[in-house]
Subunit: 139 residues, 4 copies
């Protein structure tokens, strides 16, 4: 099984168990070693007290792309933490796409960058995730 | 209207419009100038591909407490960004409580710390939010 | 040897080898389990292109307080990362004090908060450090 | 004056006043709109209590590259904050190169990524800076 195939199988196994992402309508559109793309449409119930998408949902989409990207090596890996910068308010009805790429891996730790954009290409958030491998296979 | 009353009225106005928090079952149990406490029960649909609560929901609860804490001065304030460290996996069915306190405010910028604990008092995440006031009244 | 004595001995051992802190005139004025206070005077050669103290030196003072705080348990511990928010410009000649306290420890990981203030009590920066123990004794 | 020329002149003006960078032996080897490269050799007095380069100096080099990158538009811009992940210990005598690139700008705020590598190409730290323009020209 090559690296691309491993990445795809890990993503399939993760997604099947990931009720949270399924229930939010998040789809994983592209996966490869150290990278993943996740998409979600902002619904009316994702709106906060300012009438815009709750930052928690923007974070959740980015965090999902990150989780799939860092779990592409058949090594069960969890999020140790993350930093997010919100650049634009997001309205209900917006289609969002989060693209996660690996910046560094060292031992059991990794750093992943995720950019969240509207379908029209406007960046709405920049996320950086810190991963930690548990040292167990996923498949 | 004193500071405590202002804080409470801002929280009431925010919560009434905050469909996201309402829909997640988040309640705001305590609010004062620069501080807020938010609670949520982790449900079965919040579980991710590792069988534990999706970090996005832990973040969302913390981000909600932060949003209510930084909007207690009758000045519409949004999240510019945040950093989160995940300390413990969280199982479905867990009652979580997020306590937000103000660490610093300077001009239109603020820094808020949020600790997320189980009802039993175990800290599961530490969050630090960066706020930005829009310079508009809320009430 | 009790916890306070262990903390003090670790700090003494660290400081004796810490040429960087010594050369910057940083002093460690108080140490206990999970906490440390470091002080430094901003000199003329610490000024950046905007005529104020280079953020790197404010960070370095905070990072030093953090390093001493997380090395108080006789377990060699390094910085995995940190986040800093700069709140005020700092002029040459200012006496700075950085106070580090432990927020959480879990296994080999820890989270420490450091506040950097002027001698007059004005907060100039808020720092949060992430530590990682190497699992080796220090003394 | 075109964008590349503006960037270069801003860097020259900054560097002339930047005693901190000069005194640390930091050189700015490449500057363009939204980007800059800074280099520094780790000296014996930069070593901390663990016998490796104090994280403050690695941060300072990254922060310098960031400062030059975000000041390339003839708009005086300061660091609002930054996050750093340390990936490798760095020995005295190591030549370090920090490369800063712009990830996003929105109004007066910006996000810049800085990678710090040894001359041999090993990444030792990943830094993300948050900038804030003061709305004043630099030249």
């Amino acid at each position: 099984m090559d690296a691309a195939e491993t990445a795809r199988r890990c993503a399939d196994a993760m997604y099947a168990a990931d009720l949270a992402s399924q229930q939010l309508g998040i789809t994983i559109s592209e996966v490869g070693p150290g990278r993943a793309t996740a998409a979600m449409t902002v619904t009316d119930v994702m709106v906060n007290g300012h009438g815009i998408c709750h930052g928690g949902y923007v974070f959740t989409l980015a965090d999902t792309a990150f989780a799939f990207a860092c779990n592409t090596y058949d090594e069960r890996t969890v999020a140790a933490g993350a930093d997010v910068t919100f650049l634009e308010p997001v309205r209900a009805g917006t289609d969002l796409v989060a693209t996660a790429t690996e910046r560094a891996r060292r031992g059991r730790s990794g750093v992943y960058d995720v950019t969240v954009r509207t379908a029209g290409g406007v960046t709405v958030a920049e996320f950086r995730g810190r991963s930690r491998s548990l040292g167990e296979p996923m498949l």
